[in-house]
């Protein structure tokens, strides 16, 4: 029995990592074929630096993800505070509604926004993509920040107020530092989701507003070159940095909680 379980662990990791490793290995392949090994080279990475379209796409992705993260972190944090602090009439309706953008398939969200945009003065460009990304990001940020607020000690705020701090001071000196790991975790998650998103961007971006994901997609559809392996490897390295950051902040959070206990 134990053997079978161990074999399954090996199988799952093999399945999860062989494709990723293949991409990394072949990004150093000197041949013109994407999956036939010929020799070692860094030239595909050098070529990335000359690719103006790629850098434009990168810049667009960073603008979209940066703005969408900032906006959705603000909205998500205020929403989480309102939901956890107050009882109000539409509270259950609001929390259910917040799960919907996570639950419905992204292609449905994408075309709903598309049919909405064409009836409004909002042009299909970067702004339309940012607004769209905020819709699903807000839901994720709220979930992460709420989780942080649930393990939260209210007496600290009461103590601050008893000692004469006003609401504003209490928030910035007590509440905010305590929930900051949740907020940062939510923001990192939002940023990653935003950078990785393809479907929603594909439908809501105007012509000429290519993001990194859309750029990669068009390469996949209309001619795969070995350069794609190099782009993928760079993105992989990026996501690993982000996970480590996320875990570092979350880990810091659980450590300080266990110290409190």
């Amino acid at each position: 029995m134990k053997r079978i379980l161990e074999a399954n662990i090996g199988l799952v990791f093999f399945f999860l990592y062989v494709p990723i490793l293949a991409v990394v290995v072949f990004s150093f392949n000197s041949g013109e074929q994407i999956s036939v090994w010929e020799g070692f080279t860094f030239s595909w990475y050098a070529k990335l630096f000359e690719d103006a379209a790629l850098w434009r796409a990168c810049r667009n992705s960073l603008i979209v993800a940066g703005v969408a993260t900032a906006v959705s972190t603000f909205i998500g944090t205020t929403a989480a505070l309102a939901i956890e602090r107050y009882r109000f009439r539409f509270r259950t309706a609001l929390t259910r509604c917040l799960y919907l953008p996570v639950i419905i398939p992204d292609i449905v969200l994408a075309i709903a926004l598309l049919t909405f945009y064409v009836q409004t003065p909002i042009p299909l460009g970067l702004a339309s993509v940012i607004i769209a990304h905020c819709v699903f990001n807000v839901a994720y940020v709220t979930i992460v920040v709420r989780a942080r607020l649930q393990g939260y000690d209210n007496t600290l705020e009461e103590a601050a107020r008893d000692l004469g701090a006003n609401e504003w001071q209490t928030f910035w000196r007590i509440t905010f530092p305590l929930i900051a790991p949740g907020i940062i975790g939510g923001a990192l998650l939002a940023f990653t989701l935003s950078i990785d998103d393809f479907v929603v961007t594909f439908f809501t971006a105007g012509v000429g507003y290519t993001t990194l994901s859309v750029h990669i997609y068009s390469q996949l559809k209309f001619g795969i070159t070995p350069k794609l392996n190099a782009i993928s490897t760079m993105l992989l390295a990026n996501s690993i940095v982000f996970i480590l950051l996320f875990l570092w902040f979350q880990g810091g959070a659980t450590n300080s909680q266990s110290r409190d206990a």
Binding site: M1, N8, I9, L11, V12, F13, F15, L16, Y17, P19, I20, A22, V23, F26, Q33, S35, I75, G76, T78, A79, L81, A82, R85, Y86, L94, C97, P101, I103, I104, P105, D106, I107, V108, L109, I111, A112, L113, T115, F116, Q119, I131, V135, V138, I195, D196, F198, V199, F203, S213, I216, Y217, L220, L228, N229, S232, L235, L236, S239, F242, I243
Partner: protein
Amino acid sequence: MRHNYQRLVLLFPIVFWLVCFFLLPLVSVFIYSFLERGTYGGVRWIFTLENYARLFDGLYLGILWRSVSTALICTAVCLLLGYPFAYYLARYRPKHRNILLLLVVVPFWTNFLIRTYAWILILRTEGLLNSFLSALFPNWGPLELLNTPLAVQIGLVYGYLPFMILPLYAALEQLDMSLLEAAQDLGASPRRAFWHVTVPLSLPGILAGSMLVFIPTVGAFLTPDLLGGGKVSYIGNVIERQFKTARDWPFGSALSFMLMGIVLVGTVLYFRTLQQDET
């Protein structure tokens, strides 16, 4: 009074965003699904039920069935691979456990397009799998795997396996081991204890994982598009085509509404089962 004011300030951004950029777009796609298609794309503002009638066409029912059955198979395979994995992980030494868990999370944070592309590298005719097989068996002709339903199925399992493992792990890790010991003390065989204690107690994890896999796979667009090569249609691809090439927005909207319906019914059933499980 003061509290009322604070509450309003905190609630305004989220309510504004959800109403304007989520509920209104849903209303908009709902209205579109009852309109007539315009001659050059666009729509004519004439009410019709034609788009919904077309959904019952044998062609689209077939596509719908393919999407649903593919998503169900994907969920089953993920459960079959993920359950023993999570079970083993939950009993692993805590220190190494986190590293293994991290290794499951890494692909989850990686760009989905790239993870799908990796399978093109492996499955294409000149790909890694065929080179490997031809090195082992020189007489074996290359397998044509890319652009088949099997490739789509593999890509979907690959894409969503972490979504199954994580909730299963969360459920199995909290499992009270003393209950298992009690079952064994009372004479249950390990197998019986597993099916009568472990599985029922991890049911919330099984349900959550199945939801997280089923929902995105039933409406998947990218995986069938890239690994299926557009040769086999799934509902996500049909919707995309209505908006990008066929320019039949009203029919695409009706299809989306049906897809959303399937997903919402699934979600409601999930919460029902969960509640019954608790009571």
